[in-house]
């Protein structure tokens, strides 16, 4: 048996004439946080729902924890946790009731009270669903996803529509889950989210994966170079030694150098500045963002 928690090969899904997914391949290792990044309508949610056993696929091989979600649907559902993109609970359901109800649906479940405390929902345990804020609803959705202590967690757009403060809360929750070595498949169209949370990211556009790798790898593969930006107190006279070919600002106080290995470059450049007797004012290492990567790969912006 392979170590992959999720494996997808040649997956396609058509709705009538419309091809939502056009041949997707990827694997997610045990304990890995894997992101599907792409704009709305790219086929992320369809892919995830096929993995969750919610939809049949048109073709391809799919395994989740060694089970085929289309054939062994219940076995898969028993072992995974899911936070759906669009779902609601009955308005008059209380928080603790929701957790207890869903706990009862699984063969194995965690202790509801502990879960509520962990997700900071303890104070809200007797509140009706309809009275919860957006962040609380999302935390409850994640609580429900964790109620069966799943080995694989699917989070579909976990922070969409939340304000930045709440989004950070959700991010730290996901980081906590990552530290617990859970396998997480996350879909998002937020770059920062993917960069911050994911070990690896697949960029999806129009039903296909157009790039896959760690955020760092993707950045490097696409643009090759990071940029080191240096600002000095006085204008600079000299030119740094090979292989560095900087560009200077007009007042020669700002120097930008494209490099493959920014850490090495910083050491070299600071040594050179010292030798020039120049006083360093500021220093940045700028990496290309996934936004840049996406733009480069697809020619379009991630969000309109």
């Amino acid at each position: 048996m392979s170590a992959a928690a999720i494996s997808v090969a040649g997956l396609t899904k058509s709705y009538g004439d419309f091809q939502a997914v056009r041949g997707i391949d990827f694997e997610v290792a045990q304990g890995e946080v894997f992101g599907l990044l792409g704009p709305n309508g790219a086929g992320k949610t369809t892919t995830v729902e096929i993995l969750e056993g919610l939809r049949p696929r048109t073709s391809g091989d799919v395994k989740v924890l060694g089970f085929d979600p289309a054939a062994d649907t219940l076995a898969v559902k028993e072992r995974i946790g899911v936070s759906l993109q669009s779902t609601r609970l009955p308005e008059k359901m209380k928080v603790h009731e929701a957790v207890e109800l869903f706990a009862a649906l699984y063969a194995k479940s965690v202790e509801p009270n502990a879960l509520l405390k962990r997700l900071q929902l303890w104070d809200k345990r007797a509140a009706f669903y309809s009275t919860l804020s957006g962040g609380q609803k999302q935390r409850l959705a994640i609580a429900l996803a964790l109620v069966n202590d799943p080995q694989v967690v699917f989070l579909d757009e976990p922070s969409t529509g939340l304000d930045p403060q709440v989004r950070l809360e959700i991010h730290s929750l996901i980081e906590e889950m990552r530290d617990q070595k859970r396998t997480i498949l996350l879909t998002t169209h937020y770059i920062e989210e993917a960069e911050r949370l994911c070990h690896r990211v697949a960029i999806v556009d129009e039903g296909k994966i157009i790039a896959i790798g760690s955020p760092r790898e993707l950045q490097q593969r696409v643009l090759g170079h990071a940029r080191v930006e240096i600002t000095t107190v006085e204008p600079l006279d000299g030119v740094p030694p090979e292989p560095y070919t900087p560009a200077f600002s007009a007042d020669r106080r700002h120097m930008t150098v494209s490099v493959e290995k920014p850490a090495r470059a910083v050491v070299d450049l600071v040594k050179w500045l010292d030798s020039q007797g120049a006083e360093l004012d500021d220093l940045h290492i700028k990496r290309p963002t996934l936004e840049d990567v996406f733009l480069e790969l697809t020619g379009k912006k991630l969000r309109d």
């Binding site: 919610l54 028993e78 759906l84 669009s86 008059k92 869903f102 009862a104 649906l105 429900l144």
Partner: protein, 584 residues
């Protein structure tokens, strides 16, 4: 199992928190209950009370089935609530069973609630077969919950579900019999109603409440309801959709019809047999017989003792029997929960009894050779008797046993007419003066008002023609007969069924008998002769409430017995004008 229990528990909690459920299950039926309870005079009649109880239960069952079951399941799918359950490892079964079960458990207190109110406010006795009623209502709730789920399974939106539900809800409510009595609807509509589950649920509940039948006697509706529930459950599992996005093919809507299969079968059988149409008649009659009446301020000829008369008094009739007799000033009808019959200046007598008639002879000529028409003629004859205040007759059995069948029908309440006693009159029991009169060529009977009213014009023509060929014979004066039970031998030529007893009484008085004795001959003594002593022919507590109310005082003037104001038959106030209507 854990999943089922958890889901049911959760659904119950949500249902109890839902104010709409409270409204549809309790408040709205309660308003109807009070409104119709007062309007129908529920307190004066156990039948009307049963009708009101059945109506609110029917409202509740249909409401919880269509709106609580169907609409809610659709709404949960539309809102994306079911979607959340879809990712959990459960099948549709707990959700569907949960809906059925919740509907049932939430409805049961309603049943008890209304029975208690009926008891406290309107004094309805606790139903004989309370448990049977609960089982029947339970089967109804489950079946209609199932139908609701099927509707949810086949509609694609809330709007569609509204349309389908209204299409089914209204006819099922209106045609069930719970709101409009079935027997006043045209025949074809009554036949349509036989295809609706609600009609059978209504009949089942009524049979148990009004006719005090057991569950076993209502196995057909019970089984059909249970079958409906099972089919509905199976089909909803098959058609279950978790998400709004999963659209069903238009053809799949026809599955809805599958769930009605048991009732289509019953409906077809009923169209053929018409059993339930008869049952409907019986139910309506049973309800009318359950009415409580206070006949107020009348002269009462009790038929007891030596013909005791109460000059001013009141008779309380309840549940088809005489409950009490009040001498002097009348008690308050309201406190007795009775409907009043204001009868001052009138006389209440026990229903008249004719101890010897020939029901299968037409009274006009030869009997009809056709069996069907013979039945119809005899049925009409029984109606004619009742119209004339003759509430029981004894007839010799006919070879085709039609009288026996009619005896059953009247007894069951399937038709209105005089009670039939089968048997031969003893040879020396009494004598028919009206026959002697007729044989002597005196045909005054044919001129009597009642005769004009009850005999069909064509038959009257025949009678007159016959009379013309039997002119009066000279010197044939009837002798004074010994007092004895009233007999007319109606059915013989010249003696049409119904009015002859009044002429017989006049002849007896004319021959010298005292009116009181003649009345005793027609009531208590006649009852004794036919073996119905104590039950018929007397006005005393415990006797059957089969009464005749006439305008005036027959003890002074025997001819007032023809001036009939009202006839009560086993507690039912007889609609005299309906009796002679041609039956199809």
């Amino acid at each position: 199992m854990k999943a089922y229990l958890a889901y049911i528990k959760s659904t119950l909690q949500l249902t109890i928190r839902d104010r709409l459920v409270l409204f549809f299950n309790y408040l709205m039926p309660l308003v109807f209950f009070i409104a119709f309870g007062e309007g129908f005079g529920a307190s004066t009649s156990t039948g009307a009370m049963a009708q009101v109880v059945t109506m609110v239960l029917m409202l509740g069952v249909l409401g919880t089935g269509f709106f609580g079951g169907g609409m809610r399941a659709t709404a949960e799918r539309e809102a994306g609530i079911l979607r959340r359950f879809k990712v959990a490892p459960i099948t549709p079964a707990p959700i569907l069973v949960g809906s059925l079960f919740t509907g049932w458990i939430v409805f049961l207190p309603t049943v008890i609630f209304f029975l208690v109110i009926a008891r406290l406010r309107y004094g309805m006795p606790v139903p004989e077969h309370s448990l049977s009623l609960l089982v029947m209502v339970s089967a109804g709730v489950l079946a209609f919950r199932g139908i609701g789920l099927i509707i949810a399974s086949v509609v694609n939106s809330m709007a569609e579900s509204q349309v389908v539900i209204q299409l089914l809800y209204l006819p099922m409510l209106m045609l069930s019999g719970a709101t409009i009595p079935l027997n006043i609807l045209p025949d074809w509509l009554q036949s349509v109603a036989q295809f609706l589950p609600s009609t059978h649920l209504y009949m089942g509940m009524q049979n148990i409440l009004v006719r005090e039948q057991s569950l076993a006697q209502n196995w057909v509706p019970l089984c059909a309801l249970v079958a409906t529930m099972l089919i509905a459950l199976l089909l909803s599992v098959k058609l279950f959709r978790w998400e709004k996005g999963d659209v069903l093919k238009p053809g799949a809507k026809l599955w809805l019809l599958g769930v009605l299969a048991p009732f289509v079968a019953i409906g077809m059988y009923q169209t053929y047999s018409k059993d339930n149409l008869k049952e409907t008649q019986i139910l309506a009659r049973q309800m009318r017989r359950g009415q409580t009446w206070l006949i107020k301020d009348a002269r009462i000829f009790t038929g007891t003792g030596d013909g005791r008369v109460i000059e001013r008094g009141s008779v309380l009739v309840k549940g088809g029997r005489i409950e009490a007799i009040f001498e002097g000033s009348a008690p308050d009808a309201k406190s007795l929960k009775a409907e009043t019959l204001e009868a001052s200046g009138k006389t209440v007598l026990p229903g008249l009894i004719d101890t010897n008639v020939n029901l299968f002879l037409p009274g006009t000529g030869a009997p009809d050779p056709d069996g069907v028409r013979q039945t119809r003629a005899m049925q009409r004859a029984l109606g004619a008797y009742l119209y004339c205040g003759v509430t029981a007759i004894r007839t010799t059995p006919d070879p085709m046993k039609i009288a026996k069948e009619l005896q059953r029908r009247v007894g069951a309440g399937e038709m209105a007419g005089a009670e039939v006693i089968l048997g031969e009159a003893p040879p020396q029991g009494s004598r028919s003066l009206v026959l002697l009169d007729s044989v002597a060529g005196n045909h005054d009977l044919l001129k009597d008002t009642l005769t004009q009213q009850v005999v069909k014009p064509a038959a009257l023509e025949k009678l007159r023609a016959w009379a013309a060929t039997h002119p009066p014979k000279s010197g044939a004066t009837p002798q004074l007969p010994p007092p004895g039970p009233m007999m007319t031998l109606s059915g013989l030529p010249g003696l049409p069924h119904g009015p002859a007893i009044h002429r017989e009484m006049k002849l007896r008085v004319a021959a010298g008998a005292k009116p009181k004795d003649v009345l005793l001959d027609a009531t208590a003594r006649a009852a004794q002769a036919i073996g119905a002593s104590g039950r018929l022919g007397v006005i005393q507590p415990g006797a059957e409430a089969t009464l005749l109310i006439v305008e005036g005082n027959p003890l002074e003037d025997i001819t007032v017995t023809e001036r009939i104001w009202n006839v009560l038959f086993k507690g039912e106030r007889v609609r005299r004008d309906d009796l002679l209507e041609e039956k199809k």
